[in-house]
Amino acid sequence: MQIDVEVMGETAVVRVGGELDLREADAFRRALEGLLADGRVNHLVLNLEGLAYIDSSGLGVILGRYRALHRRGGRISLVGLRPQVRRIMELSGILRIMPEFGDEATALATGV
């Protein structure tokens, strides 16, 4: 897993590459928790363009952060889902609660 974070005020763009399974889930969770810990970042744009694989371990981390952000009025937007990743996200119900955008600029402009 590779992770690259860019914070813009209240919003952080998190670009995730590689594979997100049980092996990577803890590191991914720690990275997101660290980003959200001080309460300054309330919106996440998750750019998963480089993500080749995800399963329930990775989805659990995203859903956990969604719940935490949702409680304080924040949200998570998704960008760059590959077909296989989108399929998993559809099945999990994540796409019903998190908006998906074609690119980062659109996600940021749509007032995350």
Binding site: E19, D21, L22, R23, A25, R29, Y53, D55, S56, S57, L59, G60, V61, L63, G64, Q84, I88, L91, S92
Partner: protein, 143 residues
Amino acid sequence: MAIKNEMRLEFPSRPENVGLARVAVAAFATQLDYTLADLEEIKVAVSEAVTNAIVHGYGGGAEGTVTIRAYLHDDALEVLVEDQGRGIDDVSRALEAGYSTDPERPGLGFVFMQSFMDRLEVDSAPGRGTRIVMYKLLSRKEQ
């Protein structure tokens, strides 16, 4: 069903072996004419079964052993994932969507196994480990 080929893979219950397991079984499955989408689904199903074995069967500890056996039939892949861990108290409840014993885990493992494979059998009892048997039929060519 005649068996055309078979494989067996055994490894310690370490998270880094989840990737090994799914890639090995998917590579084995390419001996049948599966689509790329089918192979991706096989990978997820195997990952979920192995993840369950490590996280739930062995409670995240690395001292357990996970065994995978896979068989190629004429028109199907059969995959068995076994652990000798703590087992599942209530299998039918574990198979319900969203059922989870851990707030950080969304209860989707069995949902993906059921959605992506054509048949799923779960044989488990408390203290006696868990055996998951999954079949992926070679049928729907959607190209």
